[in-house]
């Protein structure tokens, strides 16, 4: 394998042993004496390679094996098969040099202590990663410029909003200028403004530092804003590895048109496109329409029907992937 790649993954597999039993008292007693295990292949012979300073979106529905893969690549999990090299290290050996040159930021997990201001945690990180004062100050100033941290890092973390906390988590994960970033749902739960902010930050950070970024997200906007390349896994297997544009063209060359009609029962929307899920709350009915026909269909809809409201959106990422591999 060529040494130039930042991340090389070869036939990586992870099988979990899950103990299982039926409900009820007698089953509980039986399982006390004899446990039955079931193998769950969370990641199944996945191979890919990522070059330095690439930003790659790692996609798949819930339970596809994304987080498991990220955990293996950051060293938290031992694989049950295959190989991985990141920056020339085998991650799960947890070598100090490796841990000092990568970061794992998980949107749903806090690394910062709740009880103290982030600034104090940053100082601790400075010591842990042995950062010289000058470097530390320079990086912090840069992160402050990009994320506007000055005020928020003085408050105890428990008093921060979700968006503010995520900014601090990202900053804490980047103080040591890691060469590889594993980001698991970095924008989850954030409002649109904060999402955009984090996205812009990541883009700029990648441009400035040349760091390699592998990120998972449920927000298509994250992926389209940041990644030219996506890797898709589904039920532990690699399903797609290539350009984002090709993906949309190949897999989901359609958009969703949603309409709210004056008298919805009377009209058959299937004449205009494949009916998709309706949104009860906004009383919107959706149809799937090929991307190149959106204008045409929209015009027809507006002309034919008593349209009160109309919206055109990209299909949600989950359904793109579902569509690709199940449909």
């Amino acid at each position: 394998m060529p040494q130039s790649a930042a991340i090389t993954v070869e036939k990586l597999s992870k099988t979990y042993q899950v103990s299982e039993r039926e409900g009820g008292f007698s089953a509980a007693v039986r399982s006390f004496f004899k446990r039955t295990y079931r193998d769950v292949r969370a990641v199944d012979t996945v191979s890919f390679q990522i070059e330095p300073s690439e930003v790659v979106g790692f996609l798949g529905p819930n339970g596809a094996g994304k987080t498991t893969t990220l955990k293996m690549l950051s060293g938290l999990l031992h694989p049950t098969g295959g190989q991985a090299r990141v920056l020339g290290y085998t991650p799960w050996e947890l070598k100090r040099e490796y841990l000092s040159s990568m970061t794992l930021v998980m949107g749903q997990r806090n690394r910062l202590s709740w009880d103290i201001p982030a600034a104090d945690s940053f100082l601790l990180n400075q010591a842990i990663y042995r950062l010289p004062d000058a470097d530390f100050k320079r990086t912090l100033a840069e992160l402050d410029e990009l994320l506007d941290l000055k005020e928020i890092i003085k408050k105890p973390v428990r008093n921060l909003s979700l968006g503010e906390r995520m900014k601090c988590e990202l900053a804490a994960g980047l103080l040591h200028r890691p060469k590889v970033l594993f980001l698991d749902e970095p924008t989850i739960g954030l409002d649109i403004t904060a999402q955009v902010r984090i996205r812009e930050f990541l883009k700029e950070y990648n441009r400035r530092s040349g760091a390699t970024i592998l990120l998972t997200s449920h927000y298509m906007a994250d992926v389209t804003a940041l990644c030219e390349r996506v890797i898709i896994i589904h039920q532990g297997k690699l399903k797609y590895d290539g350009g984002l544009n090709d993906l949309a063209r190949k897999i989901a060359p359609f958009k969703l048109i949603g309409v709210r009609l004056g008298d919805s029962a009377a009209h058959d929307l299937s004449r205009y496109g494949k009916p998709a899920q309706a949104d009860e709350e906004s009383e919107m009915s959706f149809i799937e329409v090929r991307a190149d026909q959106v204008t045409l269909v929209t015009a027809r809809l507006l002309a034919d029907l008593p349209v009160h409201d109309i919206t055109i959106t990209d299909p949600p990422i989950e359904s793109v992937i579902e569509q690709a591999f199940n449909g």
């Binding site: 955990k71 938290l76 947890l94 202590s113 009880d115 103290i116 100082l123």
Partner: protein, 265 residues
């Protein structure tokens, strides 16, 4: 490395300070039994003149010294660490380039100690006022001699508890095991009564166990009740148990982390 501990101290102290009321409650709870033993034994000793040769004052200074020694060698690793293994937050610590237990947990112990010792001072003052103890057996040599022994006792206690906490990597419920370990400690460390009041069998077993190195040995040493050969024997025992607990901890940690990363959290 020193800087890591310094910064860790600042952070941990600030965290502990936030929970000072909680610490105080813990201290009050923990104070109950030694103070009760102290009162009971001194009352008995007063009414009988002495108990197995121990006078009322002997009991007073024993338990008053125990209060301090117990804090100095106490260990809260399991409270600090076991939950991290169980809920998976240990992941955050594992991907930092420092050993989580030998840094964060160790410093956490220290901060807790300092806080509880501060809170203990007024209690000690009140006991002094109530019982008017006679500490004439305590010498400067005794104090100097006991300092390394306290460090040794704490390290042994810390490493043994750390090893025990590592059991959490295999089984998620470790509190029963912890209780059992604590019970052994109460029996063999001199926490309950001075070991001389225990049956000879218990005394001779206790001599070879690590528990008395964290309490009884230190109390007797500081009170000037040990012969030079007792002191040498205690120290040798201390070094032996330090090595054993270090090996135990290393084994448990390595294999535990391997287990953790096999199962995932």
């Amino acid at each position: 490395m020193l800087k890591i501990y310094q910064r860790l101290w600042q952070v941990t102290w600030a965290e502990q300070w936030q929970y000072r009321a909680n610490t105080l409650m813990y201290l009050l709870y923990w104070l109950v039994s030694p103070v009760v033993y102290l009162s009971v034994w001194t009352t008995i000793a007063r009414s009988q003149g002495s108990v197995s040769g121990l006078t009322a004052n002997d009991f007073v200074i024993y338990y008053m010294t125990l209060l301090i020694i117990d804090q100095l060698t106490s260990d809260i690793t399991i409270y600090n660490f076991a939950s991290k293994v169980q809920d998976g937050t240990l992941s955050n610590d594992l991907i930092r380039p420092i050993h989580p237990m030998l840094t964060t947990t160790l410093v956490n112990n220290m901060a807790f100690k300092v806080l509880t010792l501060l809170a203990l001072l007024p209690v000690w003052g009140v006991l002094w006022f109530l019982f008017q103890p006679d500490f004439t057996g305590v010498t400067w040599q005794g104090i100097l001699l006991v300092i390394p022994a306290v460090v040794l006792g704490f390290l042994i206690n810390f490493l043994l508890n750390a090893a025990l906490t590592c059991v959490a990597f295999w089984t998620t419920r470790i509190w029963a095991l912890h209780e059992f370990f604590m019970a052994l400690g109460t029996l063999f460390s001199g926490q309950f009564v001075p070991l001389t009041l225990m049956p000879p069998l218990i005394q001779s077993i206790a001599r070879f166990l690590p528990f008395q190195l964290t309490k009884y040995f230190l109390i007797e040493l500081i009170l000037g009740r040990l012969s030079p050969s007792d002191i040498v024997q205690g120290y040798l025992m201390g070094v032996f148990w330090l090595v054993v607990s270090l090996l135990l901890f290393r084994w448990a940690w390595r294999n535990g982390v391997k287990k953790f990363s096999a199962v995932g959290a």
